[in-house]
Symmetry: none
Subunit: 241 residues, 4 copies
């Protein structure tokens, strides 16, 4: 029994480790060469195993790709949730900023892979479950947003998917731009302001206090008027030269 139980544990660990090794290798090669461009032989070589061995873990190249995608997006979702959990502040916008920062960084780092995901032909019936992965991932944002509305931190009439499109869309596009720019001139722009801008935009546009501009504009105007009146008074008190 012991001679059976311990090895089985060891073996299972081994298999799982090897599975991870294969997935890592596959991901690297897929990212480097795309789905069609990737050669199973190279994946196997990178994983340090024989060609045939890959096929005892994954029935085909397409299925391997699927597993890689699964792992990637699941990992992303988990990490994003982890980020949310680790933010101490309960303030919605602070949490939003954390999510944006995490997402932007992720998208920059994994740009190739994300492109790869979307490149998988919808027509290519073999590999295309990506939509589900994506849905899971963006659900992190959705929950944050909806809770924000529940708590009255966000306008009740804000439309979830519009906000979501703006949030992820802007960040992804930025990531692409940043990547492109960095290659040419790394110093030209920083990524940080993008997130700040994003959060500011959300605060201004979707924040419950509403379009703060209008409200405070009045306040400022009032104060300025008051100040002007004071100065006017003051100036009248001064001795004329």
């Amino acid at each position: 029994m012991a001679s059976n139980a311990i090895p089985s544990e060891t073996q299972r660990a081994k298999l799982e480790r090897k599975e991870r090794v294969i997935l890592d290798a596959a991901r690297a090669i897929f990212v480097d060469h795309g789905f069609d461009g990737a050669r199973m032989q190279e994946i196997a070589r990178r994983a340090g195993i024989g060609e045939g061995t890959v096929y005892s873990y994954y029935e085909s190249k397409a299925e391997l790709m699927l597993a890689v995608l699964q792992q990637f997006w699941d990992g992303l979702t988990l990490e994003a949730e982890g980020v949310m959990a680790s933010v101490e502040a309960t303030d919605l916008f602070a949490r939003l900023e954390a999510l944006a920062r995490y997402h932007l960084n992720t998208v920059i780092v994994n740009a190739d892979f994300i492109n790869l995901t979307f490149a998988l032909r919808r027509n290519n019936s073999e590999v295309s479950v990506s939509r589900d992965h994506l849905r899971h991932y963006v659900a992190v944002f959705d929950r944050l947003f909806l809770r924000g509305q529940d708590r009255g931190e966000l306008r009740a009439d804000a439309v979830l998917w519009q906000a979501r499109d703006i949030f992820y869309g802007s960040l992804e596009y930025s990531a692409r731009s940043i990547e492109t720019t960095m290659e040419a001139d790394r110093s030209t722009r920083e990524q940080l302001p993008v997130v700040d801008e994003m959060v500011a935009l959300f605060r201004a546009h979707y924040g419950a206090t509403g379009n703060p501009v209008i409200v405070d504009e009045v306040g400022l105007a009032t104060r300025l008027d008051k100040l002007a009146a004071q100065i006017d008074t003051l100036s009248r008190c001064l001795p004329r030269p």
Copy 2:
């Protein structure tokens, strides 16, 4: 000579026509099957010419793809500029809305092809000039934006590339979402509001009257209050007339 010159014109026209036919065929096949999935034979058949003939116009599959991309993005840019030219209103936001509407529609219709563009591996040294095409295309937005700043319609301190990322990013992401959603439930959401929201957001956030208030709002109020206090103090110290 004349017997040579006239035919040569005809021939040139012929060549150009055939070139267009090839490009159209190629684009259709590339969109349907992706770069690797497309077969030169099918492209040739669709263009109604022999396989070898394609190679007398384009040296390789990669170069053909490049030409297709070129044509596509150039066409897009031209169309976008045409849209701009046809908008009678000089109002920035009206023009922005027209551009957004055109872009969203374009992105939805050509989703496959746009994905294809980004899917072309940067590493795959063969095909990857897409960045330039993209730059050209977004320049339409850039010009609109800069002119808006010149005219004072937009905040002078607005950052071009941030606005651009938000503009195109949101729209592209929306397009993707819309496409996904439409497949499942076409009635759930409409695409039009997306553009409206986008323009509203721009007007509020980047409009000339708008923005500085938000960022410095608190600081300014504080400073103004402080200033008012100083003046108050000062006024009290002054001898009454």
Copy 3:
């Protein structure tokens, strides 16, 4: 037109010639190594063409095999019919002998290929139309047999398929035996007697004149005995001289 017609003729001839070359090469390799054992590469090499070229003539290995089978059995049938046509004698048994001799020789020469035909797995849904080929081929015998019955050369109550089984079965089995024996000791037996035996057997067993003897033998004897008895009786009735 001429520039089109003549080349097309040449081309067609070329294609047909190449097709024959491929079939011949394929047959040789299939016979040598069996269906699974045959390598397309070797077939191509033997045909003196590139690997890919084979696939522009036959969609797959299975289809190539099918074509080889088709050609083989069709050729056999044609040859057998040719043999029948060339026999001047109208005598059934002379014709039968010619067919038997042709068949035996064919079966010996093509033993490998015939085995190959029957070896194609019925389960292997890909290649297995052999039954039809076979039916066509044995129809030559069937026609001969039926005409023999029509002409009264063969017993009217002889069963076609029994005769056919005996005819082809014996010859095939003999061929196999002969082949086996020849390898070990070529001189031990001759193939000629087999055919003679076969024909003798048919003449005796199925021949119209042959058979009644056996069947009516008893009847004749009975009648003769009866006749003898009658004469005996008669003789006793006669007055002695």
Copy 4:
């Protein structure tokens, strides 16, 4: 020692049992998929053992196939001899009929496997000992035939191998035809008459009474002579005209 001897017996029995299990599994898989189509893994799975274990009993797939063939043909031979032993009648033709019936049935039931035997390429030096198996098997017929000649039941001048070819050849061919026919139209023909026909043919053609024509010809001639003598006597008794 005792503790060693008894288990060793058990172990030997175990080994032999496992060997049988492997052979049975192998035969089933070989019949179902052919030699090349059979996978060692499936054979092992069907035998309920590990893949590697098969190789501790048989060095290679080819050798396993050989063993299966051996077992099959030996079994066939044994069964055929059993059938011969169980026939109470000492009459040659009754025994022949039993053998024919057994053989026909066997050939029908094991058609796939018999085809498989002949399909093993002679060139494929690995597996091809089938000839010996066959020789052993047909020896049952040979013994029967020779004893028949010894006893005077068969013509002394009949040629063994000719008779053998006719016997087995016809039956095998019939089996194939029956199989083919049955698939299409089971009712069209019965298998039983084949054996009857076979035996009748042997009795007529090879039976010692012989070429009945000749023998009875004598009988008839004798009777006719006798009759002639009687008539002659009679005629002499008649009054001369």
